[in-house]
């Protein structure tokens, strides 16, 4: 019984070995190349979006910083004027 199973097993494995090698259809290569190109473009455009977003963020940050600086400067001036006022009083 065991011997019979072994023979069957070998037959089955031989059958597997005889599975024909197939070639993918010719249309697959251009499809894959196109996807690869698309991937390059998508990566480039996502980098573009990231750099634009980073640029906008820097601009907003810079304008926010400069407005705070301006505000501080104007407060300093007020203090000076106030102090000056006191001196003259």
């Amino acid at each position: 019984m065991k011997k019979e199973s072994n023979i069957k097993m070998e037959d089955m494995l031989v059958l597997l070995e005889h599975t024909k090698r197939m070639r993918p259809q010719s249309g697959l290569k251009p499809r894959i190349m196109k996807s690869a190109h698309k991937n390059i473009e998508e990566t480039a455009s996502s980098w573009r979006v990231i750099s634009i977003a980073a640029g906008i963020f820097v601009l907003i940050g810079a304008s926010f910083y400069s407005s705070i600086q301006q505000q501080r400067n104007s407060q300093d001036t007020k203090v000076v004027f106030f102090n000056q006022g006191n001196i003259y009083e």
């Binding site: 494995l13 070995e17 197939m22």
Partner: protein, 173 residues
């Protein structure tokens, strides 16, 4: 891009046939092949040369094929209530274009039994038998020692025989 095209030309048949033996459907094998080469394209810069390029492409192909089968198994809950068949387990008619037509029934039983094996056991049989790789090559791909691969293959054959017998009993052959 030229390097990528050379890789495609060198390995497209290998990738396609491995995928085909996993899923036994032309359309699915093409989808896996496309997925594999996109992964190769994205990851080729990180290829460290610790293994051969062929081994690396084999690994990507095996993982992509197994992922594809896993995704196929994951049906939405409501669908799984109505479909007992999940994934390839109970596929009745194997649509592998590489089988010998006169032995279609024998191949059907063979692949159905293969589809019931655990992933690693199926992989070792495919690598050694349909791909015709040596123990050393298959062990490198599966990241195993030669001895471990041999024992995995032994267990795979035993399980395969059981599943094949079950298959025949269910069909009443």
């Amino acid at each position: 891009m030229n390097d990528f095209e050379n890789i495609y030309d060198a390995y497209n048949e290998m990738v396609y046939n491995v995928a085909l033996n996993y899923v036994q459907q032309i359309e699915d094998a093409e989808e896996i092949t496309q997925d594999v080469f996109l992964k190769v394209f994205k990851r080729i810069k990180n290829f460290d040369g610790k293994s051969t390029l062929k081994t690396w492409v084999y690994r990507i192909t095996i993982n992509a094929s197994l992922d594809f089968i896993r995704k196929k198994k994951r049906r939405p809950i409501f669908q799984s209530l109505f479909y007992e068949d999940r994934g390839l387990k109970n596929v009745v008619d194997i649509k592998h274009p590489g089988i010998i037509l006169e032995q279609k029934e024998a191949y059907n039983a063979l692949f159905r039994a293969m589809n019931r094996l655990p992933e690693r056991q199926k992989t070792v049989i495919l690598l050694l038998k349909t791909e015709g790789l040596s123990i050393k090559e298959a062990a490198a791909i599966m990241n195993l020692k030669n001895k471990a691969l041999e024992s995995l293959f032994h267990r795979a054959k035993q399980k395969f025989l059981k599943e094949h017998q079950k298959e025949k009993d269910e069909k009443g052959v």
